[in-house]
């Protein structure tokens, strides 16, 4: 369970339609550019430190997942299915009428608060990233660098 002072990170994003729309637009453009092998957003942390961040490889993994290449997607990032679910949730929050989406968001917020699900996923992501960095560092960096 999340303490009261900790904001659940996903539900407020889904509730704010303008923000969700901007995020869907930026992510859609980025994923489209990546799928066409064109230059797009680059991870500032990777460029700054040479160490991939926990989210590095997610875009390419998502593109591969959308193309049906599960093994390739998993090789780049195991969290791509969750990322895809988050994108779909964002798209639905923008497209569906408020009367349908608001109760769903309220339930999602309650679940986030009760179970700490998002915090657990973020913690899992950090652990996954640490494991790749510690045990597969050279291959990981090479994979992300492309």
């Amino acid at each position: 369970m999340l303490p009261q002072h900790v904001f659940p990170p996903i539900s407020p994003v889904l509730r704010d339609r303008k923000f969700a729309l901007a995020l869907v637009g930026a992510t859609g453009l980025h994923v489209a550019l990546v799928s066409l092998s064109l230059p797009s957003w680059e991870c500032p942390l990777f460029r700054l430190t040479g160490i991939p961040c926990p989210g590095c490889g997610l875009s390419r993994a998502t593109v591969l997942l959308l193309k049906g290449d599960l093994a390739g997607s998993f090789r780049f990032h195991a969290f791509a299915p969750l990322f895809l679910i988050a994108i779909v949730a964002l798209i639905l929050s923008v497209l569906l009428p408020k009367s349908i989406i608001q109760p769903a968001i309220a339930r999602s917020e309650l679940t986030e608060r009760k179970t700490g699900l998002t915090a657990l996923i973020l913690a899992g992501l950090i652990l996954y990233w640490l494991a790749r960095l510690i045990f597969l560092q050279a291959a990981f960096v090479q994979l992300i660098r492309g």
Binding site: V6, D16, T27, P39, P44, L45, A119
Partner: protein
């Protein structure tokens, strides 16, 4: 060769500007939205970027966002025109041997 070096230096400066802008907005994100959203901002730089624009007026970071966006566009154009091989630290393409 000299032109290539100059482009490399410009790319490096553009990148440093982007990185500094990212860190400034990330600090604002941590301060105002808490730990979880801050971590989300590290993992997904695009989230930080969009959050920065959505809250630019509220937190007084409009100038930072404008500079970041401009540098980002320059960075993408440079990347498109010259490829990542100009970026210091990135591996150069191996020569093609027939």
């Amino acid at each position: 060769m000299l032109a290539g070096g100059l482009i490399g230096i410009i790319a490096l400066l553009v990148f440093l500007g982007c990185a500094i802008s990212f860190i400034v907005v990330l600090i604002k994100l941590f301060q105002n939205e808490g730990l979880l959203k801050g971590i989300l901002g590290i993992i997904c730089g695009l989230y930080t970027f969009v959050w920065g624009w959505m809250n630019a007026n509220r937190y007084g970071i409009k100038n930072v966002m404008m500079i970041w966006t401009l540098l980002l566009i320059i960075s993408i154009i440079l990347n498109f025109a010259f490829g990542v091989s100009m970026i210091p630290g990135y591996p150069r393409p191996a020569p093609v041997v027939p």
